[in-house]
């Protein structure tokens, strides 16, 4: 049996530098575009850690599986820490096998996005916990730390006070604590493919229609207001989460990394803006203005952290 208090408390270290993580690409881009994206990241982006691998739909994998090794190599030569992400919802035998293969890769740290992946970890194998695992409280955080989690990307819906409580615990356990900071927020996952449904196709004969939408397909309310987006089996926010204006608050909360999620906008420019802000080269107003310029016709949100609802964009004082 696991113990609830598996890890001992350690003396907290001073607030470390906040690092930047590029989360796994959630959309169905062509292999060529994927490879170009990661090559540019390797060469140009001030990103510390890059996640590679399929999180949303196992049917997309065969198209780019063979390119992953080269992508990983390229990222490593660019000085990035590479993490292999696993699927958020695992039901089929091939999905279980794919997960086992990743967990047993023997070289790279893996990100667990479905509890099922935990079943395959070798004894004392370090792993990261992705934003699809329900980590809402210290008890759960301790269980995962006790199993060997080196870092946890918190569920995007957590409010800032919960983030702070968990980040404080994370620090005492010497575990990283990451927050969803840029991009459409994954809100739900289903066994059913919504892209296929919208195009009147079945999941098995989906014709990969999700590849038509580089950033997901907008879903509006009947009165024409942007609300959600669909990405295969995933439902996402229509807004792009953007915490670039809130980095000071996240630093105070003890967050160790910010996660940027790849979109078709210039992610190199987005990551440079976040890095410059974190390094004090930009103020938050200017950083927010720049991300707005980079993203164009996009609405931002930070409401899960600070607002009454996840969809809101709250402008707030930076430091308590």
């Amino acid at each position: 049996m696991l113990r609830n208090d598996a890890s001992e408390m350690k003396t907290p270290a001073p607030n470390p530098r906040i690092s930047l993580t590029m989360g796994p690409l959630l959309f169905n881009w062509s292999t060529e575009r994927r490879c170009d994206f990661y090559a540019r990241l390797a060469d140009e982006a001030p990103i510390d850690t890059v996640h590679v691998g399929e999180v949303v739909c196992s049917k997309r994998l065969p198209f780019y599986l063979d390119s992953i090794a080269e992508t990983v190599d390229r990222l490593q030569r660019g000085g990035k820490t590479v993490v292999l992400s696993t699927l958020a919802l695992i039901t089929l035998p091939r999905e279980r096998q794919y997960t086992v293969d990743i967990i047993h890769n023997g070289e790279y740290e893996v990100e667990v996005n479905d509890i099922a992946a935990l079943a395959h970890l070798a004894k004392e194998q370090a792993f990261r916990v992705g934003p699809y695992v329900n980590v809402y409280s210290g008890g759960t955080f301790r269980v995962l730390a006790g199993l060997g989690a080196s870092s946890v990307c918190l569920p995007p819906e957590l409010p800032i006070d919960t983030v702070e409580a968990l980040a404080t615990l994370a620090r005492s356990l010497s575990v990283g604590c990451e927050v969803w900071s840029f991009g459409r927020v994954p809100l739900a996952v289903s066994g059913r493919c919504y892209h296929a449904r919208v195009h009147k196709l079945t999941k098995d004969a989906c014709q990969f229609v999700c590849s038509r939408d580089s950033d997901g397909l907008d879903v509006d309310t009947v009165d024409g207001r942007g609300f959600l987006a669909i990405n295969g089996v995933q439902a996402m926010s229509n807004t792009y989460c953007n915490t670039v204006g809130d980095a000071d608050r996240l630093r105070i909360a003890g967050v160790t990394a910010l996660r940027l999620s790849p979109h078709s906008c210039d992610m190199i420019a987005v990551s440079k803006t976040f890095r410059d802000l974190l390094d004090g080269k930009l103020d938050s107003e200017e950083a927010l203005r720049r991300t707005g310029e980079i993203c164009g016709e996009v609405s931002f949100s930070n409401g899960f952290l600070f607002g009454g609802s996840g969809s809101e964009m709250v402008r707030r004082p930076q430091v308590r």
Binding site: N4, S137, P155
Partner: protein
């Protein structure tokens, strides 16, 4: 002609009165929760005080009915005491099992109350044998409530691999998304079903007349629009009416209730131990009728008699039913 297994019928109770009704109607087991955020049906006026829980468990036990207590939300950091107290109290009142979803609470329960039967809530969304294996190995889970994303074939395959019982939803509302992993309602309202136990909370619902139409609104978003002479649907996002690329419709799922009663023989053959009725928020009359009808179907099947497929039609929401993922027509 006999020899079929008699599946356990697990029935919802939102109130002590519903619990008594369900027991009289033929429930083998009742599941219910405390009147707070610790359970995933935290609606106003619903659920059990401590005294009601203690009395209700005694009432059920006197009639050879089991009671499972659902403590199946995720505790808020720093407030875990509320959830731990719920666990301690349910155990002390003699609950037959606890239905849990959170890793921390599973660890707490298996350390503090190793003797109590632990069931894995559907809110943990354990959708494959590996996940279930993880929970059985680490927390001694005795039964898993299966997510509603699985087909009969998948359930069959899972049951061949795992070391615990499975419980499958057979009737009631249908969660479209993987349960316990959905922030849609939270995105629109700021209230997380995972933390607070309410999806699409009534406090954030409004109905607004709009010319000849009526809008159902959740938070700031219009989730449905119907003609004013029609009943306005409740604004549950995954069953909402939206538009994308010129297409209007139920983008995620049609608003149909689950009725898998006709699949009871297949579920039994797939190795399922227990069948669950969703609906702790439903009226006594609804619960009583659903339990009576399903009791008859289960008993008929156990006795080798034909299963009456339309026994529950009149109870389903919107009069429209689906067999959900059990038969994946969309695959």
């Amino acid at each position: 002609m006999t020899g079929h297994p008699r599946l356990e019928l697990v029935c919802p109770a939102g109130t002590p009165a519903a619990l008594r009704t369900a027991i009289i109607a033929g429930a083998d087991t009742i599941y219910c929760g405390f009147r707070d955020e610790t359970n995933a049906r935290n609606f106003p006026g619903l659920n059990f005080s401590r005294a009601e829980m203690e009395e209700s468990i005694a009432f059920a036990h006197a009639r050879e009915t089991k009671v499972f207590v659902a403590i199946n939300t995720f505790p808020r950091a720093g407030q875990e005491q509320l959830w731990r107290r719920a666990i301690d109290d349910a155990v002390s009142f003699g609950a037959d099992a606890l239905i849990l979803a959170d890793l921390g609470l599973l660890a707490y329960t298996s350390n503090r109350h190793p003797q109590i039967r632990r069931h894995l809530s559907v809110q943990a969304a354990a959708a494959n044998a590996d996940a279930i294996d993880f929970y059985t190995r680490n927390f001694g889970i005795r039964r898993v409530v299966l997510p509603r994303v699985l087909s009969i074939e998948e359930i069959n395959a899972i049951n061949r691999e795992i070391n615990c019982e499975t419980e499958a939803f057979v009737f009631g509302s249908l969660c479209v998304m993987a349960e316990g992993r959905c922030s849609l309602s939270s995105y629109a309202t700021g209230t997380s079903p995972n933390l607070g136990g309410v999806c699409s909370p009534g406090s954030h619902v409004a109905y607004r007349e709009n010319g000849h139409e009526l809008d159902s609104i959740l938070g700031d978003f219009t989730i449905h629009r119907v003609s004013r002479d029609l009943p306005a649907p409740y604004p549950t996002i995954c069953k909402g009416y939206f538009t994308t690329e010129g297409l209007w419709g139920h983008i995620f799922e049609d608003p149909a209730g689950l009725d898998a009663s006709a699949l009871i023989p297949q579920l039994a053959m797939a190795g399922v131990t227990a069948l669950k009725i969703e609906g702790r928020q439903r009226s006594r009359a609804y619960v009583g009728a659903a339990v009576r009808n399903l009791r008859r179907v289960i008993d008929n099947y156990a006795a080798g008699l034909p299963v009456n497929e339309s026994a529950l039609n009149h109870l389903s929401e919107g009069q429209s039913t689906t067999q959900g993922a059990y038969r994946k027509m969309w695959r």
